[in-house]
Structure formats: C-alpha cells, structure tokens
Symmetry: C2
Subunit: 169 residues, 2 copies
Amino acid sequence: MKQASERQAERIKQRRERQEQNLFSRLPAAYAASRLQAQRLLQRAGGLSVLEWRVLWDLCEAGPMTIRDLAEIQRTDHSQLSRALPAMQRKQFVTMTRDSSDGRQIVVEITDTGRRAYETTAPTMKLRRDALRAEFSPEEIATFISLLDRLEDFLRRPIDTFLEREPPE
Amino acid sequence: MKQASERQAERIKQRRERQEQNLFSRLPAAYAASRLQAQRLLQRAGGLSVLEWRVLWDLCEAGPMTIRDLAEIQRTDHSQLSRALPAMQRKQFVTMTRDSSDGRQIVVEITDTGRRAYETTAPTMKLRRDALRAEFSPEEIATFISLLDRLEDFLRRPIDTFLEREPPE
DNA sequence: AGAAAACATATGACTTGTCACGCATTTCCA
DNA sequence: TGGAAATGCGTGACAAGTCATATGTTTTCT
C-alpha cells in the first residue's frame, strides 16, 4: 500500500512539473499574482482599486478622453469602465460629460480630488515599476513584450484556423 | 478647436503606445485572451468549463488526488475547486471520497463518464497546443517560461521588499 | 430625406480568481 | 499524553473580466 501511494505521489509530482512548462497554465497564475500584488500595493497606498488606479493614471497622463479610449488603452472591455465610472464620479474622482459634438460619447475628465488621489498613489506604483526594472534588463523586457505580442496575436486568431485540418472548400 | 482635439488624439495615441510596453498592463489582456480562446474551444468541443477541463485533464494524466494536489498543480486557490467539484460530482464526472487515513482530505477520482468527457475534449485542446508549438520554437517557449518564472517570483515577493527605501530599525 | 449600418454606452448574467474566517482533523512537542 | 500549531476543506464576500443584448446617436448610402 505504501508503494502504491508513493507511486501516486510521484505521478502528481511529474504532472506538476509538466504543467510548469505549459504556457496556457502559467498565464493565469502569473496574471493573478500580478493583480494581487497591485491590489495590495494600492490598498497600502491609499485604497484605490486596480480599475480606479488605471483610470486615474491614464487621465493624468493623457488628459480627458472617452470611455472607448480608456478601454482601448487598458486593453479591456468597455463594460468594465461603464460600471466603475459612476462610482468614481460619486467619489468626485472624475466628471462624466456627454460630448456635445457626438452625443454617443461620454468624455471622462479627472478632477482635483482625483488628481490628489493619483498623486498619493503614484509614488508607490512607480517603486514597483522601478523594482521590476531592477529585476529585468531592458532587453529582457523587450523580449517579454514581443513574446506577449505574438502570443496575443495567436490567442485572438479565430479558433477555426487551427481546428481545421483541411481548409473548407 | 480642431487643433486642440488633434493634440488630444495624439496624447491618447502616445499613451496607448507607452502602455503597450508596460508588462503589468499587458498581462491581464494576454491572460484574458487565453482564457477566452480556451472557453470557446471547450464550448465547441463539448461544453466543459475551463475549470472542469483542468480537473479532468489532471485526473486523467496523474490519477486520483486530493483537492490540495489539484490546486497545487493548477496553481490556483483550493476554494475554486471546493466550489466546482460538487457540481462535477453531480454530473458524474468525478467521485469525492474522504481519505480513510487522513480524515481532512478528500480524494477526487475520475469516473468513466468523466473520462469520456475528457476524451471528447482532449483532441481539440491538443490541436491548440500543437498550434502554439507551430508558432513558437522550443527555445522561445523555454525563454517565455523562464521569464514567467522570474516574473512570478518577483510578483510573489512581499511588497515591503521594494517599498522600503531603508530597512526598518 | 429616409432607411440601414455602424458606433458608444449601459446592463444583466456568468466565469475565474482572490481573501478571510471557521470547523474538523492531524501532527508536533514539551 | 495533552494542548498548541499546522493542515485540509468549505463558504461568504468581493474584484475583475467576459459576453450578449438593448438603446440611443451618428454616419453612410441611395
């Protein structure tokens, strides 16, 4: 019986090592760790959520813009912003005004309160980016980014492209 | 007025290009794309959820194991499995039995039904891994994995390590 | 000018992921 | 051996992400 359970432990270990080499299974964990670290830093730096931080950062760096612009910069779904922004407006971090020349769009602008929240938080987040740069050389970052580019390209391809053994006639 | 809005468009473009180089902002998008592709493939291949697929795959490859083992292999929180497994049991994909020698543990084992679901789905998921291998050389994959290793190591470090300018006395 | 298509946003429903806490069991050690 | 610590699991609460669909605007095309 001992032997059987040892064999089992060995199989589990091998499986773990194998999955360590599987990109698809590494990505969620890496992302989760990144998000968690950001959440903790933000919590400590003043209590912004990840979404709030992203919005304030973009608005501070690039000025007022529409929800669509924000979503595009952040590579995320606009619905996430649609939902988060009203709360940020209530907190007086941003204003939302319908664009007078295009009535579909909402222009989001940072307020003084929002800017102060940004300025409180930014130094902490900069420390994190600095720490990353201390860990990875510019070349390594470039390699990483270019691998991510190609991976994303692959991931966004229509799934039929690799499901079909032979092209449809 | 035209000029002002053009300057604004330029600022937004610059911001987008800058954030393209930011690892922390690329990771969520890459992960999201990966999950979405997996969801679509699984949907087409028979309707398993990502979690279900992972569980069936691990159990098929490495035999019965505890919830903790599964969580470790999948690099995820045990609560996710705690929640998903009862439904999988109801679908007859797995059995859950309390370990007789350690009453805290639950041993999860795949059933014939689960194995059939796995076998229906596996070829599709293999095509995906094959397609990835057609896109990235083994060396590139190895580089990618090793960068992820180092990134994860960085991300799991206690946040104080880079928040402190000077060590606490 | 009017119909159709494209676009920007809002919203409901769902999945994946985390934490914190509680309970039961096991292990460790004084 | 008995109590403290560690471990395994379940659960409530929440964040972040997606989709599909609805609604109102603008653009495009005839």
